[in-house]
Amino acid sequence: MNAPHARKEKLTIRDLPDETLVYDLERHKAHCLNATAALVWKHCDGKTPLEKLARILKDAQNLPAPEAAVSLALEQLNRRHLLQETMEPIFGTQRLSRREALKKVAATAVALPLIMTITAPLARVNASEIMTIDCKVKSFPSGRVFRDAPDGTTCTGGTCQGGKCVRSGPPVFVPVTSCGGQPDGTPCSVNGKIGTCVKGGCSTTPT
């Protein structure tokens, strides 16, 4: 991989002053990228070659061994599934082991690219004392049932099928990126904006 490409789908990304936080909606893991790792990741656009990434890092952080830092950052990004395709930890023709890369960058420990993973737990059971959708649409405290929830509705820990909650792992809540074949009203995202599908297109205009 000469020009690594950062993964952007199914991620929630927030920039803080000294770090970037990333939540992987597929694997339910939270990552914290320090400034060096975040800089490399943000420039992984699939077009920027490794040499240029190293130059960018050198300009921004004045690192003595930017190639090693890039290699180290890419290795960590790769391991955490934050790149679009898996990559070998190489730099040009010279393959650097993680230890070698660490040795080279260790002199400037402050700028060492670092990604910390916080394993986030599965989705929390979310229900209300007043109203809950648990395959039966009902009111509380009377417990009066309005109707069965439609099949596919997310219930506590699964999805509804025939009015019963079938456990199927945590609900993942992601807008579609393409409205082709999706019913109107389906949440979608386009250019980072959230909207709803209308006639096969994603409309982000507030109503």
């Binding site: 929630t12 990304i13 927030r14 803080l16 936080l21 990333v22 939540y23 339910h28 939270a30 916080i118 394993t119 986030a120 737990p121 599965l122 989705a123 929390r124 059971v125 979310n126 229900a127 209300s128 004392e129 007043i130 109203m131 809950t132 959708i133 648990d134 039966k136 649409v137 009902k138 009111s139 509380f140 405290p141 417990g143 009066r144 049932v145 309005f146 929830a149 439609p150 596919g152 997310t154 219930c155 009015g163 019963k164 909650c165 945590p170 609900p171 993942v172 809540f173 807008p175 999706q182 009203g185 389906t186 949440p187 904006k193 959230i194 909207g195 709803t196 982000t204 507030p206 109503t207």
Partner: protein
Amino acid sequence: MMDTRLLNGMNRTYETLPSFPSTIRVVHGGAWRRSPPPLALSEESLRQAASRLLQTGSGGLVWRRLRDSKLKSTRIGREYQQAYRLNVLSAAHMEDSLQRAFAVLRAAQVEPILLKGWSVARLYPETGLRPYGDHDLAVAPGRLGEALDVLSAIPGGFPEIDLHDGIPDLPGRSWAEVFARSRCESLGDWTVRVLGAEDQLALLAFHFIRHGAWPPLWLCDIAALVESLPESFDWDSISSDPSLASAWTIPVIRLAEQLLGARAPSLPANSEPPLPWLASAVLWRWGVGKERLPMAHYLRRPAEILRTCAYQWLDPLKVTVRLGIKPQRSLFLMHLLSLWGRPLLGIARLKRRAERIRDRQTLLPCEIHRSNAY
């Protein structure tokens, strides 16, 4: 959806150290302000209170006050930082889902009002200080079924959304009145309808009391709201509402002044002075938390048994909410009412339980989950 069960996995502590209430007061005092006072607590105090503070969602507030101190690089400092990071990510995710829920409901001509959650979190100076686990959306009475249909039809559903038929916590106010006072606030490129300050304050105050003054972060919310009240705030809307919910507004504002140093605007001249027993009841709750303590704890500290029994059985907050009476100045009177009212409450509860079992047998094959998630 993500959550912070990671934090709840920390070792639980059943300690009821005498210092807990004061630690909680110091941590929350002024924490909602743009420039909070420096946190005058030792590493040890923060470590002892960590379990309770993290579980109740105050980790982000603590981190904000630690990050410019030498405690930021300590082990306990990093725990609070972790809570803050998770809060930030959770907020990003929740804001997305809130935008989508409003978009979907508005497309179906249903205009909801957001209660609590994001509408309270935005009172804090930055994201990640005040976590929330769901969105309580109130729709006009009678339109609940329609709103549920709309949300249920979306693939994946909206697990973060709790829909309410009107606003049950504000029974003394009509939907039209509340809706007229509500306003739209910007969230990204969208707008979210939130309660007007008059209704938000009454709702938060009563909610805090109804849940037994727990968690402490909710009093912080009230302090933040009180300090941001508009000049045009209509105090008459509170005094003219005869419901129990509104009766708690002024006492809770006084409490926020007393315990957290909130700077309340000038209250109406005829408003009640602080209830003499309220602060001590709340501080006791902050000391023991909400967990049911194991018997071994009391065997080690027999002196606490009597005090705990007195509060558990004669908890003045519980009395006022369960019996539906307005807060009284006399604690003795409230205890007397409690002793008379408890048997009646017990009978009512048995009746409700019997009804629920009957309903469940006939109508509800699925398990009902209820959470007190903040």
